[in-house]
């Protein structure tokens, strides 16, 4: 069966996004933690083709901005100090995937000019760069949490569906307990259990893993359903007739059947967990400063004063939309295929 257009599109798009995010250090003009303390809440830097005299330039450029004396949030452009946008500019050091180290960035401007494509936050950190770096955390966290919940679900649900009876009963009751409890609110203290000295990123991923782990209830039920229905199918019954053991059946026939279901679940759950991170940040459980994530950037933007004063802070909130869209398309197509297979 040929993959539908939507499916291919979604897959390519996700690949592209992940690639850009993985190369954040190179693509982003700044590091995620560089504070330009003279530029807190600076609006997006205007990129010009026409200078103050109205003359056209082929190479886009920016003007040096200064915060006005009157208040910290008014910025003026200095027409006497233009700076051209350059490529492969030197800047903050970074490493890509912990392997390649460099200080060259895809594009940027020379100091004292700044290129804040999406403005800056309250510490004067470049939002665009943080958005790219934040993607690393968020996309990975979504994946980690979803994997944990799907894997746990697969194990427990598979066992419950396969063996049935008492085991099924117990597993499903426990699943209900786990589905019932509002974990988000109860896990507020979870950071307190982790050792102090592990890095904020590791701590955050552990928190996310815990959240994913306690979310096994729903996938487990799904898997159980699939296994239950598959158990009665002819080729499984036939295999059993030939004396195949339960473990063999699970591994050889039932797991592959549930594989698609699980992929679908992943595609559904990843966006959910990316979003869950916003709530984590709202409750103060998100990734620690100075590391960015889509969740804590959005959580920051949902403060009243930010919302009414600095519109550009909401732009990072749009980043997950195309990603979600892609994941949803993926999930839908997968779902249809699962149906046509079973």
């Amino acid at each position: 069966m040929k993959a539908p257009f939507k499916f291919t599109w979604a897959l390519w798009f996700l690949l592209a996004i992940h690639a850009v995010v993985a190369l954040a250090g190179f693509v982003a003009p700044y590091s995620y933690e560089t504070q330009e303390r003279e530029h807190p809440y600076a609006p997006p830097t205007r990129v010009h083709f026409f200078d103050c005299q109205g003359k056209f330039h082929l190479r886009p450029f920016v003007y040096v901005t200064q915060s006005a004396v009157s208040g910290p949030n008014d910025y003026t452009q200095d027409c006497s100090q233009p700076a051209r946008i350059e490529f492969f500019t030197p800047g903050d050091g970074y490493s890509i995937l912990g392997m390649f180290h460099s200080t060259r960035h895809l594009f940027g401007v020379q100091a004292p000019a700044n290129l804040f494509l999406l403005g800056t936050d309250g510490f004067g950190r470049d939002q665009f760069s943080r958005l790219l770096y934040g993607g690393q955390v968020s996309l990975f966290a979504g994946f980690v949490a979803a994997s944990f919940s799907v894997i746990t679900g697969l194990l427990l649900g598979g066992i419950a569906g396969m063996y049935g009876g008492r085991i099924d009963d117990v597993a499903m009751r426990v699943a209900e307990v786990f589905i019932t409890i509002p974990w988000f609110y109860l896990l507020i203290a979870v950071r307190a259990f982790l050792p102090l000295q592990i890095s904020p990123v590791a701590a955050f991923l552990l928190v996310v893993a815990v959240i994913g782990m306690v979310g096994w209830g729903r996938p487990a039920r799904l898997v159980r359903g699939v296994v239950l229905s598959a158990r009665e199918r002819n080729f499984v019954l036939a295999a059993r007739g030939f004396g195949a053991s339960n473990a063999y059946l699970l591994r050889r026939h039932l797991m592959p059947l549930t594989f698609r279901v699980l992929l679908t679940q992943m595609a559904v759950l990843i966006p959910q967990f990316i979003l869950a991170e916003v709530i984590l940040s709202f409750l103060g459980l998100g990734i620690g400063e100075p590391f960015p994530s889509w969740g804590n950037m959005l959580a920051h933007a949902q403060q009243y004063h930010v919302l009414v004063s600095y519109w550009w802070m909401l732009l990072p909130g749009l980043a997950p939309v195309p990603v979600f869209l892609a994941y949803h398309s993926l999930a839908e197509t997968l779902q249809e295929r699962v149906k046509s297979n079973i």
Partner: protein, 568 residues
């Protein structure tokens, strides 16, 4: 006083307190938004600020601290005299006063109230306040309107002890007390007629989770310059609005008419709307909150080798001084508080006019000085500007911060970036506040923490609970049997000395020295104090924001509306 006589004979016989504030007009209602509702109306058990704030409107104390002047003034006590050695307080009570339910007030109520607070079986938080150097205050009734208090030792802040110690109605609570049920009385579901107090207001209605309505106490004991009985407001309403953002929006919409504890960010949002929405914002200057970076100096950390190893740095005063010199306090004030705050050198903020030592400036950022100090202490820099100690170990530590306070989180972020400049790798660890407190107070499993504390009073005495080496909240090094360092010994001596020194000038001199020692030794690296930012509808009369708690409605009995309710 003809106007008084016109009001009725009974009034003339009572010992009223005459308020000096601007006389206002009666009527109207004031709505105040609070983060959460009060937990209890019982003054014997109330601890949290929301309960204390509401209860204080319904209750009265003998001697009261005026929040605006930070000085004591008479309340239910008409006058008092102090014995020569400063240990005996003879208090004359106002005569002819009545509780809000009409029952008369006399010395028996005072004796009854203090008996409850001092009763060991009751565990009232006030007991600790009324215990001086381990011994409780005693009191005896002299006559129906005179009570004598005896302090175990001369006590410089004696008058201030009485503030907030609510006088309870004996006629309502004696039975409960004798049955040992005093802790269970006056919950949120107690009917209003079963409660009474001597405060300006009394309870009218409770809507759980939503609002508390107080109404004017017709028997209140204050009158204004025109002889009119206070309070002016018919009703005081506390509504629950759980987030500050929502509180700001309510205030903007005029649904609530007072707002306090504004963050500088929200202050900036409200500022341009003052005219259009007819409210006024006030910046009362630096408050008594101080934020600091504190290192773990506890000596019971053998079970935590990682921390014990780093404490070698922390214990070196030059290291702490270097950290202090590396921190950009002005940057904190500008970015976190939008210049509505003050950089500080000690825990006494410039807002505390009577006790602030103005000869100690808040340290300015100086990286050369920081480097010099570190070098002197045996630290050096590796390639790439990473600081290493004398044994070549990189200097790296975690900074704990409570996740519930946005500003403190921001401070930690700035401090972390500042320390990077001298090669220190600090990692911020946000943690839910109970867990963070638990680490500081019990497990001592932390390396450094950004914290904030609010002094309860402008007077130095409450700070003994932190500064004394054996104090229960001597946060940087708990559980000391004897002072661990010479400077802690000096602090102990100075604080004991100020406790028994009655003369202000001498006390100030002692306390100035305390601040010098702290600024020098930096057991806490003091960072900044935010200003107290509040707002009120412009029509509200007698509005006097203060820097001590209940910043906006501490004088609710004097607040009034200039325009009558119908016309606003």
């Amino acid at each position: 006083m003809p106007s008084l006589l016109a009001g009725g004979r009974a009034i003339a016989q009572e010992d009223f307190l005459r308020a000096t504030s601007e006389p206002g007009t009666r009527g109207g209602k004031l709505v105040i938004a609070q983060r959460s509702e009060p937990r209890t109306f019982n003054p014997v058990v109330a601890i949290d600020q929301n309960s204390l704030g509401v209860n204080a409107r319904m209750m009265a104390d003998l001697i009261h601290i005026n929040r605006a002047t930070q000085k004591t003034e008479p309340a239910l006590a008409k006058s008092w005299s102090v014995s020569k050695n400063g240990t005996q307080f003879t208090v004359k009570l106002r005569r002819g006063l009545r509780f809000s339910d009409g029952a008369p007030f006399d010395a028996d109520d005072v004796v009854f109230s203090f008996k409850i607070y001092l009763d060991e079986q009751v565990h009232s938080p006030q007991r600790d306040l009324l215990t001086i150097s381990g011994k409780p205050i005693t009191l005896q009734k002299i006559d129906a309107f005179t009570v004598r208090f005896t302090f175990p030792a001369p006590y410089s802040a004696a008058e201030r002890v009485f503030d907030g110690v609510a006088i309870l109605p004996r006629h309502l609570l004696e039975k409960d007390y004798q049955e040992g049920k005093i802790n269970q009385v006056w919950t949120l579901s107690t009917p209003p007629e079963k409660m009474a107090g001597l405060g300006a207001f009394r309870l009218k209605q409770v809507v759980p989770g939503d609002r508390i309505v107080l109404e004017r106490n017709p028997n209140y004991w204050k009158i204004d310059a025109k002889g009119q009985r206070l309070p002016y407001l018919d009703e005081l309403m506390f509504v629950v609005v759980p987030t500050q953002d929502a509180q700001v929006i309510r205030f903007q919409a005029g649904d609530s008419q007072l707002i306090s504890g504004l963050s500088a960010d929200n202050f900036a949002v409200l500022e341009p709307e003052q005219k259009a929405r007819r409210f006024k914002l006030y910046d009362a200057g630096p408050g008594l909150e101080y934020n600091f970076l504190m290192f773990n100096l506890n000596d019971d950390t053998d079970r935590l080798p990682e921390i014990a190893r780093k404490q070698k740095w922390f214990r070196d005063v030059r290291f702490r001084q270097a950290v202090s010199a590396a921190i950009d306090r002005a940057g904190i004030v500008r970015l976190v508080y939008r210049n509505r705050g003050a950089a500080i050198a000690t825990h006494v903020s410039p807002g505390n006019k009577a006790w602030f030592n103005s000869s100690i400036p808040a340290p300015a950022r100086s990286l050369p000085k920081a480097r010099e100090l570190l070098q002197a202490a045996g630290f050096s820099w590796k390639a790439g500007n990473a600081l290493v100690d004398s044994s070549g170990q990189p200097v790296e530590f975690t900074i704990l911060v409570s996740s519930s306070n946005t500003q403190r989180g921001q401070i930690a972020t700035l401090v972390q970036e500042d320390l990077k400049a001298i090669g220190i790798a600090a990692h911020v660890v946000p943690m839910e506040s109970r867990s963070a407190n638990d680490r500081v107070l019990n497990s001592h499993d932390f390396e450094a923490i950004v914290m904030g504390l609010v002094s309860g009073d402008a007077d130095p005495t409450p700070d003994m609970n932190i500064l004394m080496s054996n104090a229960q909240t001597h946060l940087w090094h708990l559980g000391q049997k004897a002072p661990a360092t010479p400077w802690e010994a000096e602090l102990d001596r100075l604080m004991q000395q100020q406790l028994v020194t009655l003369n202000y000038q001498q006390r100030k001199k002692i306390y100035d020295r305390v601040q010098e020692v702290l600024a020098q030794q930096l057991p806490m690296v003091y960072l900044a104090s935010p200003n107290i930012l509040v707002g009120a509808q412009e029509d509200l009369g007698n509005f006097r924001p203060a820097i001590i708690e209940q910043y906006t409605f501490w004088n609710a009995d004097e607040l009034f509306w200039h325009t009558p309710a119908g016309k606003r």
